[in-house]
Symmetry: D3
Subunit: 133 residues, 6 copies
């Protein structure tokens, strides 16, 4: 159970409703998920977070599917249950197949393994990896 109330449409202020409507319009769905209904307890955080998520997940140099898979990779690494569930759903909706999910998780798993090995042995960065772009 969330530590704050999930704000339903009926009890939302006009400002909160406006964000909900933008979520619905942008995502072409009637459904506003619990994350936003929890954030709605603090209007500035709801607004700022939605504007930011909308901006960073829009297609650009990376397509929407790649972005959702990166989001899922971070969420699996952090062990955030809510985020894993919602971004697995979003990635599937954006076209992620079972084979793609399988390979995504394989990379996530190996990255977490080799991260702990590189840290655990305190391996110094190779000179050739130090050059900036």
């Amino acid at each position: 159970m969330a530590t704050v109330k999930l704000i339903g449409d009926g009890e939302a202020t006009a400002e909160v409703r406006a964000v909900y409507e933008d979520i619905r319009a942008t995502r072409k769905t009637d459904y506003v998920n619990n994350f936003w209904r929890a954030l709605a307890n603090h209007l500035p955080t709801l607004r700022r977070t939605w504007e930011s998520v909308k901006e960073v997940t829009a297609p650009g140099a990376l397509d929407a599917l790649t972005k959702e898979m990166i989001y899922l990779a971070v969420s699996a690494t952090n062990g955030c249950n809510y985020c894993i569930a919602s971004h697995t759903a979003a990635a599937r909706k954006a076209g992620m197949t079972d084979a793609m999910l399988g390979e995504l998780m394989a990379v996530v798993g190996m990255a977490n393994e080799t991260n702990s090995l590189a840290n655990g042995y305190q391996v110094e960065v190779d000179e050739r990896f130090r050059t900036t772009s």
Copy 2:
């Protein structure tokens, strides 16, 4: 400074040399980076980790560039300096542009923000996100 010796080619056993040669052949480079030279202190870990990394980063349902970007996303989230440096280099080599890196980090940053918000409010997973494939 690493907590173990970095094993040079000259002091490597035949088994370690064989892994180094496979790294060189697979990556089409003469350079074996420090991470493998640290792992070489424990042959089973060197072998197993290299075989696994080779397998999971090979192109499949996901291309090599997407896989390197996922690797980098995990490494940035974990704050593993060595891994960030080496996989930024690998992703650039695989074709990542400055614009793609910018968008990748933007997603990574927002994912870490919303992960802590979803956790911090203990948001319960929506019914519709619970359905398996």
Copy 3:
């Protein structure tokens, strides 16, 4: 379900009971929460942890509310469900309003975002931030 038994008052040893009583007296409540009942399986850990928590959460240069909010910030970052739930309750009891929780989480979220960006780009520490007090 916990991986160890939660020790009820009836089955507690005299030493465990003494810690429970100190928890009750210090917190002016009859309720001993599950965390302590789990730790009670290992008396030295129960004692040491309670003494430490009592010491660090007592008002000093920082007031009790600020300390509980810091505790909550760490717990949200780690994604520790139990700790988030119990320290949100404790912070509210110490006077945290909904507005304060909203701003607290906003800072926690941004801190996690910028942490991953600073790590992800391997930004070098500015000379002026290196000076000790």
Copy 4:
């Protein structure tokens, strides 16, 4: 060494310069630290992150010092070197004394200890901690 170039004032575009000027004006200092100069490689991330940081660290229901201490608590937990250095400096500038830093770190340390204990024993959340506001 950062994985991207740190953008100096001389090579910055007009848009980047505008953000740098707002940082200078808001913080009443001539100094723009490396973090922003790294983000400047991706204008949307520079803009969005600065606007967000400016908003969440401004005094509100919580004062600026409390917010900087929360920022530092998260950074110490994540082990983000850059963030620890810069937010320790910012918190000191906002009035954090040595005694306050000592107590802050004491809470951060205990929170990380008890987080791992609560997780490690998989303690179930007490009924009374489940009630929303």
Copy 5:
């Protein structure tokens, strides 16, 4: 609920069945736990992960019990519920007593506390700790 289907024996392919049988033979049990049934959605990950886990948890320079306790220490630190539950069970089966679990968690807790303190104060590594073996 898992984000992928748990593959039962009846619906498993011959290749998946072969891994299940090796798990049963190696562990001298009929029971194949959910983790493997989830991984079975991606055969290469199932195979590679099982081969690796079998290799690293086999007795060698460290006995099986020590290895399970190390596994549990990492899982408690990461807050991975599934892993904590399964490796607590495995460690108990390998001979971990209540007293040993108590001491294990006490070390895990203190390690997480001192890790955040060493990070939080950015303590520089002592010269004498920099020497490799």
Copy 6:
């Protein structure tokens, strides 16, 4: 460079000196490492942390070497450079051989991999793992 001063013997108060002497006596060495000299800026944290570390690392149901390896496993997982360096040194002093370090890191690496896989697929805990001792 640490964010606080490292307190030398000459500038330490009598209370800090007493802790330094206990560290020297307990560890049978003249050397007091930087971690304690940083903590010495806040006497209650220095005292409490030293007493706790002394207690949890003393041999009991688990021997000193096993405890140092668990400490190292947690530190590698958290990526705490200082802690990895100091506890690798401590574990070696307690008898850890190169082969043992190799197997320890192999377990740590696999644990971090499978932790992220179990989280990433949101695998539900098996009924048989839910039973407390």
